[in-house]
Amino acid sequence: MFKKVLIANRGEIAVRVIRACREMGIASVAVYSDVDRASLHVRKADEAYPIGPAPATESYLRIDKILDVARCSGAEAIHPGYGFLSENSKFARACATAGIKFIGPSPASMELMGSKTRARQEMEKAGVPFVPGTSRGLQSQEEAAEIAESIGYPVMLKAAAGGGGKGMRMVRAREDLRSALEAAQSEAQRSFGDDEVYIEKAIINPRHIEMQVLADEHGNTVWLGERECSVQRRHQKVLEEAPSAIVDADMRRRMGEVAVKVAQAARYANAGTVEFLVDQQMNFYFLEMNTRLQVEHPVTELITGLDLVHLQIRIANGEELPFAQDEVTIRGHAIECRIYAEDPDNNYFPSPGKITLLLAPSGPGIRRDSGMYEGWTVPLDYDPLLAKLIGYGTSREQAMMRLQRALYEYFVAGIKTNISLFRRILQDPDFHAARVDTGYLDRLLGQQSKTDVDHDSGQTIAAIAAGLFTMLQPISTAGRPGHQTPAVASNWKQKGRTEAMH
């Protein structure tokens, strides 16, 4: 087994991987940018080294610096987490050249899945179901019109090199096709330097369901069940659950077998995720494969009882999968909330800053993977994901109740978080009935939220508490209009606040 592993990431995922290392008796090496010196992953690791200024391009994305740290510290392997360099085949190749094991798939597998049209061609050969359409770039307007006619409108035009909705156009009728194709091609050219565009049948209000796979380097590949990821805001996942309420055992097995086929066709090793679109008739179509550990991996861990990071490290160490497909059992239900530093009252704008108070939930069925702590200043330079709160129960109902209870206990002050959004989702009748698709959350947020019934009694309590706080724990209010306290606050606090105002 490796004696030392470097974690080329930050935040909650770096903490997650460091914990796995400690559990396995492996020393961990953290890297950090200038603004992350006080971050939790630095404190939790056995060793930590600086890799540059705050911008990720000058630190967490610097292959040379990270490999230097690996060499100097004697790390034998690198776990990339998610984001940053996790799906960068150049990084995986550079690790191999440096004689350091990359904990993930081979560069060739990553490159194959990185190109949507190439992946599609390979997967079609393997007999993987696709949304009807072309697997290669459109050559002409005539070809586009012909294919659109044969698969039926509405159709979707997509950039081959695409991502994030760029170079994507929905076409509802024949007469709109020409201008949409031109627009998609020029946008693809501008965004990706490649104007290759292909065509697919548009699926209206699909579900986004993905299948976890795990493959060792000896040709054994298993699936570990699906995750329902349809609750999204602006194509960003917000809440995930496993299993999906609409997937039965037969559909799960069929999806799992397709996912294994996808992984094998890509000669895939380590943990990966095969994403599917599911239409209203429960047909599922291959979308893409994510060649890394997912943010939402804990829900799969809870329902399978497996530790995916342990297994990733064992696989990278050359071990065979310690179980076969028929030994994988799915038990209970898990739901994950992604706690972001963003303001629900201000259009979900990011909200970095200092965490002045943090009350964290615990208790039965609650798992919290967090990268924050009280007193920490959330830097403004990175993704706003702070923590993941996961509820587990024997049934979906129990998992929901536990999460609601935990969200009631969860309190973060000093910065804004989206915790209140999850309270709202978990009280929503459509969510309870599992009537979710990728348009669900936008519809929910478009409705007026219900006002609390006991608002008046809350106001009375707040008024009394305001006075009592002032008596029991006076705070300095220098420079803040409309507020005055009679007692003296500590000097440094006063000074700090005064300085903050100028």
Binding site: L357, T377, L380, A462, A466, L468, T470, Q484, P486
Partner: protein, 165 residues
């Protein structure tokens, strides 16, 4: 102690008297008996007629919020005997208003010039944080007296970006 407390815009008169955690509150003339302890900084435990409440206090650069359970209330507190508070509490619509950064970030654009006329809600400065741009808007209609924000510099939460008169 006597306070004028404004909760979500509703002003109330609160009188507090007590010792050893037991308080007699008179809120707008109504008596309420409260058992109160500060369990840790910014977290208060109240027992009222056997009902238990956990209250959290959050102070930002611009606001004071109290959370009763998971409900948030905007609170202002005045000591009615204090001259200063009377002056501060008077409506800020008249006179200069400060435009403060609601979060730390980088000033990416200044949208108006000094001495220009602005409307309530008009964007004055754009601050970027976590790859998102946030327009900081004028709190009132008036004239931009001073712009302190400098394009390309970092600001902290509570920093004054501009003053609108």
């Amino acid at each position: 102690m006597v306070y004028d407390v404004t909760v979500d815009g509703v002003r109330r008169r609160l009188e507090l008297e007590g010792a050893d955690g037991h308080w007699t509150c008179r809120l707008d003339g109504q008596y309420i008996f409260v058992d109160a302890i500060l369990t840790r900084p910014d977290v208060l435990s109240l027992l009222i007629d056997g009902r238990s409440f956990e209250i959290k206090r959050e102070q930002t650069a611009t606001d004071l919020h109290l959370w009763v359970g998971s409900r948030r209330f905007a609170v202002e507190l005045h000591d009615p005997r204090s001259l200063r508070s009377r002056r501060d509490g008077a409506g800020d619509e008249h006179g200069p208003r400060k435009l403060v950064a609601p979060m730390p970030g980088k000033v990416v654009r200044v949208l108006v010039e000094e001495n220009s006329q602005v409307e309530t809600g008009q964007g004055i400065v754009v601050v970027e944080a976590m790859k998102m741009q946030n327009e900081i808007k004028s709190p009132k209609k008036g004239v931009v007296q001073k712009i302190l924000a400098v394009q390309g510099t970092n600001v902290n939460s509570g920093d004054v970006l501009a003053i609108v008169e």
